[in-house]
Amino acid sequence: MPNYTDVLIVDDNQHQLNYLTRLFIANGISSHIVNDSQDTIKQIEKQNPKVIVLDLMMPKMDGFSIIKTIRKDYDFSFLPIIVYSGKTFDIDRRKVLALGANKFFPKPTKGSVLVAEIKKYL
């Protein structure tokens, strides 16, 4: 049986991963974390998430490149991507939306707002 998870969280910051995991558990959302952004595609294949929550500024492979890779992938191109980033400049918001992300939230955003957006896709 393949795995199915609600949310794949891609972030290099351990505090963020801990916080989001706890936030999602408290709201009945299952999640799987990806600490090394280079593993994102492999974990999408393995975990079959319904939504991705994605950081932007990460070592080895940044979030912009991940969005582009997902949107070009035949199997995953329609996967909803919610960008959750400390980059709060409007130009970056426009850039990630142009690349194909579904939503941009600056860090920090109230947990309830993030959860409400995710639940739209579950």
Partner: protein, 292 residues
Amino acid sequence: MAHIKFWGVRGSIPTPGPTTVRYGGNTPCVEVRLTEDKFFILDAGSGLRELGLHLLKSGKPIKSNILISHMHWDHIQGIPFFVPALLPGNEFTFYGAEEAEMSIKDILGNQMNYINFPIEMDDMASDLNFMGLQEDSYEVDGIKFETMFLNHPGSALGYKLFINGKSIVYISDNEPYPNDNEVTNEESQNFFEDSNEKLISFVKNVDILIHDGQYTPEEYKSRFQWGHSPYDFTVNVALKANVKQLVIFHHDPVHDDNFIDEIVFASQKMARDAKSKLDVIGAREGLQISLD
């Protein structure tokens, strides 16, 4: 022999004129010289033109790696006027943050399309190479360097180079992460602490930190989210990280020489008041710092 030389220190746009002669009006370009033949160039602002003319004096083939902090005009506008790149026998490799939408070559070359400039990048007769970077560690021509993503619109990189047993960090454009007081939960606190800590960790104990210090704290209030730092943030980072020498960089185009003096004096006072040995200077064209 090994040294750093500043060819352009101004942010945003070149600012020639009688009120900027001491610090200079050219946009960012810094030469990091290892030996007579081996050197790196940090950013390709309008200062690159002067550096290019200087390099031609040797009469020898020129080879260099050019590390671009980001692709905003003030950091790339010197390329069309970089004469060594027009001449066969020379070789340059441009490095910059990898962009999802476009190659480094296209980003740099588009400023020279035939409508904007009479010579296209493909017409430059030197051997030009292009390499996209992420946040990582690299080694080029025997020199190790690390990169770090900065808080600036678009993808911008800070560079840490290890040369002659010394460490040099170049962070031309960077803004403190905004603290949203409306979100005061655990995540918010951790996020700002982590972001701050990451920058401090990157510059920890370095010998020379070249960092954006474009604004006064008062100016910063009305230039929030423009992607630049007030000098007090920059000095505090240097103090917390035990940096040996801080070079205030990326001067605002509206600041004349006397105003920049005041920023430098205020920064030096912060270091004195903290009873720190931190040496603070203002970047100016022609400034040379020995690495021997």
